[in-house]
């Protein structure tokens, strides 16, 4: 009797464990493989003859004398000037995050304290904006930008990215400020603070968790963006993601593929570090929308 009752339990947990294990393998393996392969030459990375070549770097050793080679990285960063794209990305991401957080905090705070039920409308705007394929918006921006001669510059892109990001930032910070007790700034104002002082001395010190979470998502949006940057930036101002895409156009030449592989690994590394340090905030940010709904 006990045996029959137990068997399904065991079966169930074994099944779920193996599913998790399988998933973790599927999730991590491509990254490990590409990271490992980025230190090889192309004939090892695409080693059709024997996939063990990719592990031991047989051809790499034959061609360069060592089982590891940094030639892909050298090619991408130095020869193809990937560092310039990286710099551009840095500028775009930095300003996008700073600007959207500034507006987001002020706007979110104001909306949360104004008493009106804006929440619904902001939520709707954030929702609609998330649902729009970004390319539909870009197609609307493109022609005016050409006409005003501001196409291809970093500031233009930053403005567009901030605009696309804003509904989401405001909504997220709005719901965060709603959770900060109203009593706090009200008591500060009774003590003689102006509204702004109350914000500066009472709210600012406690708002960092919300700001960091929101900032992370703004960062990811700006960093990962392909649609906006590829359409709005001229070649010399390209950020990393369109740069990788244009690598691919020239990768038919032997060896150039490895430039792209190295670039891809370089792009993934910062995200890895980000998740490593901010895992908790990212998870809470992803679920915040769901819980408050």
């Amino acid at each position: 009797m006990t045996r029959t009752a137990r068997t399904p339990i065991k079966f169930f947990s074994v099944l779920s464990f193996s599913l998790v294990a399988l998933w973790l393998l599927i999730a991590a393996f491509p990254f490990l493989w590409t990271f490992w392969g980025s230190f090889k030459v192309q004939s090892d990375f695409f080693s059709k003859a024997d996939w063990m070549y990719a592990l031991w770097g047989t051809n790499t050793a034959r061609e360069t004398g060592n089982a590891f080679t940094g030639s892909g990285y050298y090619g991408a960063w130095i020869i193809e000037g990937f560092w310039k794209n990286f710099l551009n990305s840095g500028i775009v991401v930095f300003f996008t995050v700073i600007i959207s957080l500034t507006f987001g905090t002020l706007g979110g705070y104001a909306l949360a304290r104004s008493g009106f039920r804006y929440a619904f409308w902001i939520l709707m705007a954030a929702l609609v904006f998330r649902a729009m394929p970004h390319i539909t918006l870009v197609s609307g921006y493109l022609l005016p930008f050409f006409e005003w001669n501001i196409w291809g510059y970093l500031p233009t892109t930053i403005i567009v990215l901030v605009a696309m990001n804003q509904p989401f930032t405001i909504w997220m910070l709005h719901s965060f400020f709603l959770n900060v007790p109203k009593d706090m700034d009200e008591s500060a104002m009774i003590d003689g603070c102006t509204r702004f002082e109350a914000f500066r001395y009472v709210i600012v010190p406690v708002m960092w968790p919300g700001v960091i979470t929101t900032g992370l998502f703004s960062f990811l949006l700006a960093y990962n963006d392909f649609t906006v940057t590829v359409m709005l930036l001229s070649e010399e101002n390209e950020t990393i993601i369109p740069a990788i895409n244009s690598f691919l156009g020239t990768t038919q030449v032997e060896g150039k593929v490895m430039y792209a592989v190295a670039a891809v690994v370089s792009v993934t590394a910062p995200i890895l570090v980000l998740i490593l340090f901010f895992q908790r905030q990212i998870v809470s940010g992803l679920t915040a929308g769901a819980v408050k709904g």
Binding site: A5, P8, I9, F12, S16, F17, L19, V20, W23, L24, A27, A28, P30, F31, T34, F45, F46, S47, K48, W51, A54, F120, A125, L127, V128, A131, M132, P133, I135, T136, L137, V138, S139, G140, Y141, L142, L143, P144, Q166, P167, I170, L220, F226, T227, I241, I244, N245, L248, V257, V264, V267, T268, I271, I275, V283, L286, T287, A290, V291, G293
Partner: protein
Amino acid sequence: MILFIAIPIGSAFVQSLFIQHDQVLVLSKNCGPFGCRETTSVDIEATKELRQDSPLGKFNGIGTYLNRSHLAFAEVGNAWAVSRTFSGFLNEVLDLPFYGALMFTLTYTAVVTPLVLLLGLAIAIGVNGLPNIIKGPSIFVSLLPFLVTPLVGSLILFWMVDGDGIIGATIQLIFNDPDLSLKASTGLTWTMLIVYGIWHTLPFSFIVFYAGLQTVPVDTLEAAEIDGATKWQRTVYVVVPHLVPLITFVTLMLLMDNFRVFEPIVSFSAEAHARSLSWIIFNDLRESGNPLYGSAGATSILTIIGVIFLLTPVLIRNWRDFKLRRL
């Protein structure tokens, strides 16, 4: 904010009403020893000037919406009249760029969304049962495919399924067919894109469900256990109902994200077999030298209508909730 949303949509709409200028043709008489001939040539200067004067092009009304690359009513009607079987008609229609893209986008959305929901839930329950020490790292690993840039993530997979890459070569070995390429056939390309889609979005549903699992009331679970429910029964009758609001939320998010699938098509260079609506717009704007703003604008508007159509049930429900809360 509203400015930035409304203006581009408005601008796309206006653009969609125009098409690019025809080239200015000049009729010139060319007289030679064998008599005079009339030749038509393109007056480049005049064309350029015209384009500069009114960059939008000439007014075309809703003509762009109805032409062959968009709604193509004429072609659809024609296909209906010509083809005898329904599948023949379908084939004809899906050859039209807009309907082909719509078909791919819808298929992708319809396949990826439920699979991601189910698998995400299963993995969340599995991870929830893990000992605490491995929970953190496993969440870390799970987050990777979701947060990595879509273009980069799909490139990584693309290199692996390449005919010379590890997965591609293995598949060739299994089926014993050295010419087998995932990029060559439509069905396989679609499968590849869908597998990528699942890989990419699964972490999102997993994380949300996992967070939801932390809030499942322990008392209810224990009560069910005392009543003799097996683990499976407890999952189905206690945990899943508790997660229903989350499931709606995740479904909504997934629908929106999947509907705008775009980057994987670029990096898998799958455009020969699979095009999404976003990709069509991208392609129009990329048209070298002479971007087809009108065409892109028209597709944009049609896509936006599609999104609104997709979201209507949710919007209505939210609106009702909102009204109720105010009462």
